[in-house]
């Protein structure tokens, strides 16, 4: 479970996240929606302890991420697939991540096979396509077999087959009882994937609701545009 409580982040005079509170429950895919600059990525970074909140807190299973021992065994995250050393081989990238959390190197080999990168495991990351880098990021997130998974725009750069693969993967992980938190701009994709939705705009919570309540009277896109333009449902 992810709990965000009164989370606030200011950069000088700019407020990126403003007193945001919501909960991401296990066994569901929770979609995180909002316009560009709404504070989605900043919120995810604060959950992972990468950015320090100006106020409030973000907890994973009741604890701050930075306080977790071997955090990759609890939380897997794909925030930026480009945040890797591009001169390192794909398998070596997973191996150092595995070593950092006491995870077996054999798990890295198995995961590369699972995400369809077994054939390029010895290629340097700079030689991989955007979609392959995305899959490598997914493999890194799954490395510690975590209960909580966070994906920031996971289908960016993926072809239709890759999009379906991510969708099936995310749905499958939620059915196993894991906590899944996914941000995306693609309403059609989110409508197919998410069970629950958190919508933010200008750093503030607009709504936190089950998907079916939001789409009862129309499409997710219509509901989203109504909410984020301030007209209400």
């Amino acid at each position: 479970m992810i709990e965000v409580r009164n989370l606030t982040k200011r950069y000088g005079g700019t407020t990126a996240v403003d007193d945001l509170s919501f909960t991401v429950h296990p066994g569901l895919v929770t979609g995180f929606l909002g316009p560009n600059g709404a504070g989605k990525s900043t919120t995810m970074r604060m959950v992972l302890g990468l950015d320090r909140p100006t106020g409030g807190e973000a907890l994973v299973n009741g604890r701050r991420y930075a306080d977790l021992d071997q955090p990759l065994r609890h939380v897997g995250a794909l925030l930026d697939p480009a945040a890797v050393h591009h001169g390192r081989r794909a398998l070596d990238h997973l191996r150092w991540l595995a070593a950092s959390n006491g995870i077996s190197g054999r798990r890295a080999v198995a995961l590369l096979e699972q995400v369809g990168l077994g054939g390029v495991r010895d290629k340097r990351i700079r030689a991989l396509s955007l979609g392959m880098k995305q899959r490598l990021g997914v493999a890194a997130a799954l490395l510690g077999d975590p209960e909580v998974l966070m994906f920031d725009e996971p289908v960016n750069g993926l072809d239709p087959e890759g999009v379906r693969w991510i969708r099936d993967l995310v749905r499958g992980l939620a059915e196993e009882g894991r906590t899944i938190f996914v941000s995306s701009h693609l309403m059609s994709e989110m409508a197919l994937t998410a069970d629950h939705v958190v919508i933010v705009a200008r750093g503030r919570l607009i709504t936190e609701t089950p998907m079916e309540a939001l789409t009862r009277n129309g499409s997710l896109e219509d509901a989203y545009l109504d909410l984020t333009s301030g007209r209400g449902l």
Binding site: L48, G49, L50, D51, L79, A83, V84, R89, G102, A140
Partner: protein, 251 residues
């Protein structure tokens, strides 16, 4: 800590740049040995009066500043080559991450320093044979150890300085430039300062501190102990700046 250190070691040995640095150090040792041989050949063909004016043929004196720079670049790589987002997601305890990087750089710098100094002083000794001073500056192992120890300490310090500056500025290129200015730029300027600042400022520059630590300078401005403290201060100030940046900045 064990896992964080294992991760840092895996990161270091799975990219090409560190191997380039080690190769460059090896090349410097070989080039130094060739230089020693050329100096000795010239020495042997010179009249006795000119032989007395020859500089030392010990190549370790020539290669030490380059090894200092290369090891500082290695420290910079450990600090900056992997995006902080991924590094802190894997090891969110920033103090633990800093400790792992510091141990790795200190160990690598010490090993590279010892190997470079042992190889260069050893080959120089072989090339110089039993020729007298000044071309053979050391009169046995006991004589060379203070210099070699001071040189290894300076290499350790510059490695940690590169790490600290790298963590503070988060750029390999900027770190390498800053280290170059510290090791070569500023020491080239301090002798041009008016008295007594020329001596005082030069005395705390890394190239001169190595000789002061070794205790081989006549009438040195700093005692060997004070020179060690001054040398260590470079690493402490840089690591302090790097620690503040790592602990306080967003990834």
């Amino acid at each position: 800590m064990k896992n964080a250190l294992a991760a840092e070691w895996t990161k270091l040995r799975t990219v090409r740049a560190p191997f380039g640095i080690v190769a460059a150090i090896g090349l410097m040792v070989v080039a130094g040995a060739a230089l020693s041989w050329l100096i000795v050949r010239d020495y042997d063909g010179s009249p006795a009066a000119e032989q007395a004016e020859f500089a030392s043929a010990d190549s370790s004196v020539v290669i030490t500043p380059v090894v200092q720079f290369l090891v500082a670049a290695l420290g910079a790589l450990v600090a900056t080559s992997d995006p902080r987002l991924t590094a802190l997601t894997a090891v969110p305890d920033r103090k633990r991450l800093l400790a792992a990087k510091t141990v790795l750089v200190a160990t690598a710098a010490a090993v590279l320093g010892v190997v470079a100094l042992a190889t260069s002083t050893g080959t120089s000794r072989l090339v110089m044979g039993d020729r007298p001073p000044p071309i053979a500056p050391w009169d046995g192992l006991g004589d060379v150890l203070p210099w070699a120890g001071a040189a290894v300490l300076s290499i350790l310090v510059t490695g940690l300085t590169g790490l600290g500056i790298g963590l503070a500025v988060r750029s390999t290129a900027v770190t390498v430039v800053v280290v170059g200015v510290l090791l070569w730029g500023v020491p080239a300027v301090t002798p041009m300062l008016p008295e007594p600042w020329d001596v005082d400022a030069s005395a705390v520059m890394v190239p001169y501190l190595v000789w002061e630590v070794a205790g081989v300078v006549d009438d040195p401005p700093l005692s060997p102990a004070a020179a060690v403290a001054c040398l260590l201060l470079y690493a402490l100030v840089a690591l302090g700046a790097g620690t503040v940046a790592l602990l306080r900045q967003d990834a």
